[in-house]
């Protein structure tokens, strides 16, 4: 039997820190796409509740507990983050763990930096813990999740993660250099 060695999507890119802004590459656990049959969001939510203690998220929202997060992903679709999920009555369930790279930005400057880069209203009053949005970081389609303390999780498609990582690092550097000029 051959021995396959895992090379994570982020193998060639690194965590990065720039002033008051930190870009990390945490291990997200499994990512599972769940899509409910028409009209089945409630029973599927119940099944999720039984399995993970979290129900079906409203559009633009993330439900989370100590083990898992369930992020709204689209009409009748959700992304379960954390524990692996094999099947769920009334829903299509597909492993997507290797489809996305998780990047986390935190620190006092995280929100400001990310707002420069994304065409989204990420002000604290509009977007915080419990919020999720699919949008664009530069040219790349990404999923943004709000976290406590002004931190954000960003999921970028695995094949484009290097581009998004480069965009984030540049946004961090640019922001800091501009602040240095202002000071």
């Amino acid at each position: 039997m051959v021995d396959l060695i895992a090379r994570l999507p982020g193998a060639e890119i690194d965590a990065h820190s720039e002033g008051d802004c930190v870009l990390g590459l945490p291990e997200p656990g499994a990512l599972t796409w769940v899509s409910a049959e028409p009209g089945q969001e409630k029973p599927v939510g119940k099944a999720l509740q039984d399995a993970l203690g979290l129900g079906w998220p409203r559009p633009g929202r993330v439900l989370s507990n100590a083990q898992a997060r369930i992020a709204w992903f689209g009409d009748r679709q959700a992304l379960v983050m954390g524990p692996a999920l094999k099947s769920l009555a009334g829903a299509a369930v597909v492993d997507q763990s290797d489809g996305w790279l998780l990047m986390r930005v935190e620190g006092a400057g995280a929100r400001d930096m990310l707002m420069r880069l994304l065409p989204l209203d990420l002000r604290a009053a509009s977007f915080g813990p419990g919020h999720v949005a699919r949008s664009l970081a530069g040219h790349v389609p990404v999923i943004v999740l709000g976290r406590r303390g002004g931190a954000f999780d960003l999921l970028a498609p695995r094949s484009m993660a290097r581009t998004t990582h480069g965009d984030l690092v540049r946004a961090m550097k640019t922001r800091l250099a501009l602040r240095a000029l202002d000071a």
Partner: protein
């Protein structure tokens, strides 16, 4: 331009892709004229219009947008799955 996706809220134009007029697909046996009209004939109004947009860089929803081509006002946005504009 900003479009209010019924699922995601107001988003910048760049998340959306324009397709064209929101029309119902003719029946397979509809006359040639009906198919020609569906595929090729457009009114090009200076005023209210109704067209299809795809929230491609967002939630992937297809949307029917009612707007004014002259004033750029958007009157309403609905999910194509619930729109009667594209039903025969």
């Amino acid at each position: 331009m900003r479009i209010k996706c019924p699922l995601c809220g107001e988003r910048d134009l760049r998340e959306f892709t324009y397709r064209g007029a929101a029309l119902p697909r003719p029946a397979p046996d509809a006359p040639d004229e009906a198919w020609d009209a569906y595929l090729h004939l457009r009114d090009n109004p200076a005023g209210p219009t109704r067209d299809l947009w795809h929230h491609r860089a967002g939630c992937s929803a297809w949307l029917v947008v009612r707007r004014d081509t002259a004033t750029h006002e958007i009157f309403g946005v609905e999910l194509a799955t619930r729109s009667r504009a594209v039903r025969a």
